[in-house]
């Protein structure tokens, strides 16, 4: 039944500078957290082999510079993306307010064929900081935003202690597949999964 051929899934992580994009990526791929990351210059990516529904995929996770000033570079890196992961810092209202910009900028630069249905996933990172006492963006507020953008799946994560990171990326893979052209799949049950996914997207993801 399911094909064993490998397929590349391209995921872009976007969000303000310092919200933890590089850390999330490294926590997911290398299960490591470091206090000594450097600000990302330009772009980089990590890859991870993932299995989903009996199929093997190479997940290519792109990490880009967070400063708005570098957004114009996006054109080169966003093209061909299967899913866009938006990240904000729950302790920074500004990083939450900027989500609209990131989302719109992505849609402009990546110009996906069906922008209305392009899969995004939102991560509210750094929930570990100060035991949650410095938090300024509530879960409710974040979920409301997600609902207003067509039910974007939402996760609250900590790249530092790994909270929800695995779960979030499981969902990212699933959503990235949603965008895959059906003719390339040719596996009927996978198409079903995509359909099923669509139905249950409103409540987080998986």
């Amino acid at each position: 039944m399911a094909s064993r051929r490998r397929t590349l899934l391209k995921v872009i992580i976007l969000g303000d500078s310092g919200v933890g994009k590089t850390s999330l990526m490294n926590q997911y791929v290398n299960k490591k957290f470091s206090n000594q990351y450097k600000a990302t210059i330009g772009a980089d990516f990590l890859t991870k082999e993932v299995q989903f529904e009996d199929r093997l995929f190479t997940l290519q996770i792109w990490d880009t510079a967070g400063q708005e000033r570098f957004q114009s570079l996006g054109v080169a890196f966003y093209r061909g993306a299967d899913c866009c992961v938006l990240v904000y810092d729950v302790n920074s209202m500004k990083s939450f307010d900027n989500l609209n910009n990131w989302r719109e900028e992505f849609l402009i630069q990546a110009s996906p064929s069906d922008p209305d249905n392009f899969p995004f996933v939102l991560l509210g990172n750094k929930v570990d900081v100060d035991g949650g006492n410095s938090r300024v963006v509530s879960e409710k507020k974040a979920k409301a935003w997600c609902a207003s953008k067509g039910n974007i799946p939402y996760f609250e994560t900590s790249a530092k202690d790994g909270t929800n990171v695995e779960e979030a990326f499981q969902c990212i893979v699933k959503n990235a597949l949603k965008n895959e052209p059906e003719e390339e799949l040719y596996v009927p049950d996978t198409v079903d999964v995509v359909g099923g996914n669509r139905a249950q997207r409103s409540s987080g993801c998986c």
Binding site: S17, K38, A39, I41, A43, Q60, G66, F70, S72, L73
Partner: protein, 679 residues
Amino acid sequence: MRGEAAAAAAAAEAGAPRSPDLHDLSDDSDYAAAAAASSNHTAMRSDLADQGSGETAKVDVVYEKERVTIHPTQYGSGRISGKLRLYLQHGSLFLSWEPNEGVDSFSSSSATMEIEKYRNLYTIKSLPLSDVRFIRKHTPTFGFEYIIIVLSSGLAFPPFYFYNGGLRELFATLKKHVFIIRSDDDPNVFLVNDFQDPLQKSLSSLELPGVASVANAMSRQNSLSFTSSVDEARHGSDAKHGASSSMTEYIPKQKHKLNDPGRDLSIQVLEKFSLVTKFARDTTSSLFRENHSSGGHTYGRHQQEYVLDNRANDKHKDRQITPDKGSLPPDSMESDNLPLVWGKQRERPLGIEEWRSFLDPEGRVMDSKALRKKVFYGGVDHVLRKEVWKFLLGYHEYDSTYAEREYLAVMKRAEYEAIKSQWKSISTTQAKRFTKFRERKGLIDKDVVRTDRSVPYYEGDDNQNVVVLRDILLTYSFYNFDLGYCQGMSDFLAPILYVMEDESESFWCFAILMERLGANFNRDQNGMHAQLLALSKLVELLDPPLHNYFRKNDCLNYFFCFRWVLIQFKREFSFDQIMLLWEVLWTHYLSEHFHLYLCVAILKRYRSRIIGEQMDFDTLLKFINELSGEINLDRAIQDAEALCTHAGENGVACIPPGTPPSMPIETDGGLYVQEDEVL
């Protein structure tokens, strides 16, 4: 295969055999006389030197263009503008180029002496067009159009750049007055006075007195260095080593071109156009060794005949004979285009004793060029960096005295404190209503704690040096509010503060560095795009196969080099190495854009892997990012030096004026307008 050894051997001998009646051109000032002498040899004219001055009344100027400029050195300061004219006299067409009086606006005082020398050397008083074999036209996408004039004798003038355009008119005028045709082999080559077969004309140069001896002497070299040109298949081994006097009977006519005394002369003259041939003599590394394997055996001399373009600007290159581009497969072309030029072995860093020797009793740097050269080849001993970097960066004038510098430090400290107080005095209440300030500060706060924290100077919690880093960047964002703060700036500042160990001095050094590199951080990314574009042009020039590969694989945006260029390799090397590399770059010794040649050098090193593994854009980006910490810095600098030397003026022409780190071309709108920039 034998190309390299043979050419090297020939190089050692170059110019040794010399006809006694040819002028020795080792002294630049003899150039004009020697050029005249060579013309006499080719018997193309009689006694023109006298005509130029005496009979101006009969001159009919048919073309005149100002701002036709030569670049005798690689520095912008070494450019000489002049007036190019075509005029009719006694029914014949002549060309003249006279440099403008006085020092060109590009010139700096240190270069003036040298420029004066070139001014005399390259003036053309009256050159009859009948002496011109061909004119090669170059119309680069970026940079100025230029022409190279090659004489029947094989002499070539340095490129003439047309700052005000006028190339079309020039050729239109030429067409009216002389017989000029486009070469079949290269559409940019215009043969002048062509007699159907361009070879015919050069043959006439053989019917000259004194040729035989030169020919014989030359033929010995030819057997070493011109193997590819000697048509072995047709003429057998007799000709190959035919150093005998019968050689001229043996070989076909066109072969005589190789024995052209003009070529011998041209080798000497081309040496003068060569900017840094001495590198070639200090051959220590072999960047291009692997590429010489295929040699040039497959090409007939026909194509090689008249391609003394200006890349052939050193004797080694001349001997290699650049084949005509259009007619060759890319691989072979590449191997033939490559120079036998090597970067110099890296030297020991500038030490205390030597540094003292550069200073006069009052502390002036007496020979700044020699200092920059020294630093370029060896860097600076760490204990001296604090002092020397201020000169390299331009914070201190080379001709300032100890006293002046001390005074400057005091004044600048006060000025720094004044700027710093602008944000220091912002109260918490005020900050609440000052979003831009809060955000800017927030971004800087985030970045300084992730800048070089593994370096002991910046490591650990509550490190005061990190606070100073923050203060300087925030102060800079007020000093240059339009540019503000941008990621990457902290990378530039950290080594500077580490070296200076002084807040104010670090600030000013950083600020002056940003004068050159600020455009890297413009919102529209124009500085970055200009550099990446120039890089693409340089790769096209210096490594056509790699360029073709990038073109086919949609990699020509060179974004995979973005990090290299944005922060000048900061993330690619260790902290110690980056201090060395930056001081080398800051000398601007061979080029202001040496970092771009460094990019080319590194890419070239890995070219076989890039192409062999058929890397696509993503893989390439990943590969480049992962080279961090893996690049051999000394070798990369040496390679880049060789490439820069080899590229010469063609390299300069790849880089549009104002490309960082050149000083920006100022406009009324300010340098750092960041429309709608939030931070």
